[in-house]
C-alpha cells in the first residue's frame, strides 16, 4: 500500500496514513462532545468525516500539501492559530484545518471564524458549523479560549481572500482583534505561512458597484478554474505575548506587526521550497 509521507522541520518523516481507518480515527479523536457528538458550536467529528474523505484526496493529490512545524501545535490548551488568507475561496482554511485535524503529534479540531453572512446561506452554514466554523464574534472567541480550544484566525479577513493577483504574497492590513483576544485570555499565538493558495484562482476584475449594492466586500470576476497549485504550510513556534496592566489599543499594533513579520518569514520559507506552482 502506498504511504503518504509528510516532511516536518525536525527532519523526521511522519506517516499520515494513520487515518486510513476512518472509524478508528473518529473514535480516537480527542474531542469532548455531547451524546450525539456535537459540541456547543455545532462541530461534529462525524460531520467532518465526509469532508475529510474528500479533503484527503485534494490534500494529497490535487494540492499536494506539505506541512512543516506540526510539532509546534500543543496537544491541548487554548491557542490562536494565525495565518495569511488568499485565493478567493477558503481553501487555505480547509487545508490548514485538515493539517491540524490529522496532525500525528496533536490532532486538534480548530474552530475557524466565518464571515458574518455565512450563517444565512443554506447548506454552507450547516456544513461549515459541523466542520468547526463559528460566527466571528469576540464573545464566541473568548468562550472558546476559556474552554481551551484552538482557534484559526485570518486577520486579513475579506481583504486578504479577495485581493487581486497583483498583490500576491503581500499581506493586507491585519485586524487587532486577535491580539486583544490573545492578551486578555493569555493564549499563545502560532503564526502560519501558507504558500500556494494565491495561485489557485485568478481574479480577472472586481465589480465594485455590484458589491456595494449587495453589501459584499468585493464582487470578483473569477477565472472558472481551481488550479492544482502546490500548497506549502509552515507552522511557526508559539509566541506568548504579555502586557503589564491594562491593555490599550496602541499597545496592540506593535505586537500585531510582530506576528505579521513572523508570517512573512514563514511565507518566504514556503516560497523558497517551491520551484513552481506545479511542483510535485
Amino acid at each position: 500500500m502506498a504511504t503518504k509521507k509528510v516532511k516536518i522541520e525536525k527532519a523526521e518523516e511522519v506517516n499520515l496514513n494513520h487515518i486510513g481507518n476512518w472509524d478508528q480515527f473518529i473514535s480516537s479523536f480527542p474531542k469532548p462532545a455531547g451524546s450525539y457528538g456535537y459540541d456547543a458550536w455545532g462541530f461534529n467529528i462525524k460531520g467532518v468525516l465526509p469532508f475529510m474523505k474528500v479533503g484527503k484526496w485534494f490534500y494529497e493529490h490535487y494540492f499536494r500539501v506539505q506541512a512543516f512545524g506540526l510539532e509546534h501545535v500543543p496537544k491541548e490548551g487554548r491557542v490562536l492559530i494565525i495565518g495569511n488568507h488568499s485565493g478567493q475561496l477558503p481553501i487555505d482554511a480547509m487545508m490548514l484545518g485538515y493539517t491540524l485535524v490529522t496532525n500525528p503529534y496533536a490532532p486538534r479540531a480548530p474552530k475557524g471564524m466565518m464571515e458574518f453572512f455565512v450563517p444565512q446561506v443554506p447548506f454552507i452554514s450547516t456544513w461549515f458549523s459541523r466542520w468547526g466554523g463559528i460566527v466571528g464574534d469576540p464573545e464566541n472567541c473568548r468562550r472558546l479560549l476559556q474552554k481551551e480550544e484552538a482557534i484559526l484566525v485570518f486577520p486579513e479577513g475579506a481583504r486578504g481572500i479577495s485581493k487581486p493577483n497583483s498583490k500576491k504574497y503581500q499581506l493586507e492590513r491585519f485586524g487587532n482583534g486577535f491580539m486583544r483576544m490573545a492578551l486578555e485570555n493569555d493564549a499563545p499565538i502560532i503564526p502560519v505561512g501558507i504558500v500556494g493558495c494565491e495561485e489557485i484562482m485568478y481574479q480577472l476584475g472586481d465589480i465594485k458597484p455590484l458589491a456595494k449594492v449587495l453589501r459584499l466586500p468585493v464582487f470578483p470576476i473569477l477565472a472558472p478554474v481551481i488550479l492544482p497549485s502546490k500548497i506549502i504550510i509552515h507552522i511557526g513556534k508559539p509566541i506568548h505575548f504579555k502586557v503589564d496592566g491594562e491593555i490599550r489599543e496602541y499597545m496592540l499594533e506593535e505586537k500585531v506587526n510582530h506576528v505579521k513579520d513572523e508570517i512573512n518569514k514563514l511565507i518566504k520559507l514556503g516560497l523558497e521550497k517551491r520551484n513552481s506552482i506545479f511542483d510535485k
Binding site: 459540541d39 455545532g42 443554506p122 452554514s125 468562550r143
Partner: protein, 312 residues
C-alpha cells in the same frame, strides 16, 4: 388536633403539563393553590384550583384569602392560543398585576418561567449565550414582544423590589410527555417540517428535569436570572430523525418563502414567527444555574427522543 400549617404557594398555568408536575412534586410539602387563565383544572384534593384572569379585580381575592409564601408563575398564553394584543394583556399586564399583588401581600419567594426564545434566533448569535446577553427576539419578530416585555418587567421588579426574591428561569426547549410547545408538538408529528439546508444546533430538557429545576430554584431561592439547559446538543434535523419523524423539507430561499408557507399552513408545529429558530442556533449557557443550585439533568437526549419515537 391542631391542623398542620404548611407554607402556601400559588402556581399559575395549572392546566399545563409542567405545572401539574410541579404541583404534584410540591403538594406534600406545601399547600398549593393553582390558577389558570383557560379553565378550572381538577388537580384533586388537597389542591385548590381557580379559573381566573389576572387582570380582573377578583384575582386579588385569592391573595386576601390565602397568605402565600411563594408564587411559581408558569402560566403563559401562547401564540397559538390568542392574538398578539390579548397575549400582551395576559402575559405582560397580567404578570405586572401578579407581581404588584406579590409585593402588596408580602410574598417572599417568587419564580417566573421565561423562555430561551427571548434571546432571538439571529445569524450573528455566538454560542453559549449567558444571562447578560441582550434580548433580541423582539427585534426579529413582533410576535415575541410579549415574551421580551415580560422579562423586562420581571427584571424591573427583580432590582426595584429585592424583597420579592425573584428568580427568572430561561429554559431551552422543554420536551417530553404532555408538553405542547412548538418543538415538542413538532417532534410528536409523523411529518416534521425542516428548512432545506438548515439544521441549527438545539438543546432540549426533559419535562421531569425542568420540574426538578423549578422546584429546586423555588426552594433554594437565590434571586436572579438563570438559563436552564443541559450541556448537551443536537442538530435539529438529527432530533427530528431520532424522534422517528419523516422530514418534510420546506424551501428556505428566498427567506420570505418559508414564512409565507408557514402562514398559509397555519401549522402549530411550524409557526411563521419562529422561522428563524428553524434556521439559526440559540445555544444557552446553563452553567450559572447548574452551579448555583447544584442541579444537573438526569434524562439524556436519547430518553427524550425515545418518548417521541414511541408515539409513532
Amino acid at each position: 388536633m391542631e391542623r398542620e400549617v404548611k407554607p402556601q404557594i400559588l402556581v399559575t398555568g395549572a392546566g399545563g403539563a409542567l405545572a401539574k408536575k410541579v404541583i404534584n412534586k410540591l403538594k406534600a410539602k406545601y399547600r398549593i393553590v393553582a390558577v389558570d387563565f383557560r379553565n378550572k383544572v381538577d388537580l384533586g384534593i388537597p389542591v385548590e384550583s381557580y379559573k381566573v384572569d389576572f387582570n380582573k379585580r377578583i384575582f386579588e381575592d385569592i391573595f386576601r384569602e390565602h397568605h402565600f409564601d411563594g408564587i411559581i408563575h408558569l402560566g403563559r398564553i401562547s401564540s397559538s392560543d390568542s392574538d398578539r394584543f390579548s397575549r400582551y394583556n395576559a402575559n405582560v399586564i397580567g404578570t405586572r398585576k401578579l407581581l404588584d399583588l406579590a409585593k402588596k401581600y408580602n410574598v417572599k419567594k417568587n419564580l417566573i418561567l421565561s423562555t430561551y426564545f427571548v434571546y432571538g434566533a439571529s445569524p450573528y448569535n455566538p454560542s453559549l449565550l449567558d444571562e447578560k446577553t441582550p434580548l433580541k427576539a423582539s427585534e426579529l419578530t413582533m410576535d415575541l414582544v410579549d415574551s421580551v416585555e415580560l422579562e423586562n418587567l420581571a427584571n424591573i421588579y427583580l432590582y426595584k423590589y429585592p424583597e420579592l426574591n425573584l428568580t427568572i428561569l430561561r429554559p431551552c426547549n422543554i420536551a417530553g410527555p404532555g408538553v405542547r410547545n412548538t418543538f415538542s408538538t413538532l417532534l410528536a408529528e409523523k411529518n416534521a417540517p425542516v428548512l432545506l439546508g438548515f439544521s441549527p444546533l438545539m438543546q432540549f430538557i426533559h419535562i421531569d428535569d425542568m420540574r426538578d429545576a423549578i422546584c429546586t430554584a423555588y426552594e433554594k431561592n437565590v434571586k436572579g436570572i438563570y438559563n436552564v439547559a443541559p450541556d448537551d446538543y443536537i442538530a435539529f434535523q438529527d432530533a427530528v430523525e431520532m424522534s422517528g419523524c419523516k422530514k418534510l423539507y420546506i424551501p428556505s430561499i428566498p427567506p420570505i418563502l418559508p414564512e409565507r408557507i408557514a402562514k398559509f399552513l397555519k401549522w402549530k408545529a411550524f409557526p411563521a414567527h419562529l422561522i428563524n429558530y428553524f434556521k439559526y442556533p440559540v445555544i444557552i449557557d446553563g452553567s450559572l444555574f447548574a452551579s448555583t443550585f447544584k442541579w444537573k439533568p438526569t434524562k439524556t437526549l436519547d430518553e427524550i427522543f425515545s418518548y417521541y419515537r414511541g408515539l409513532k
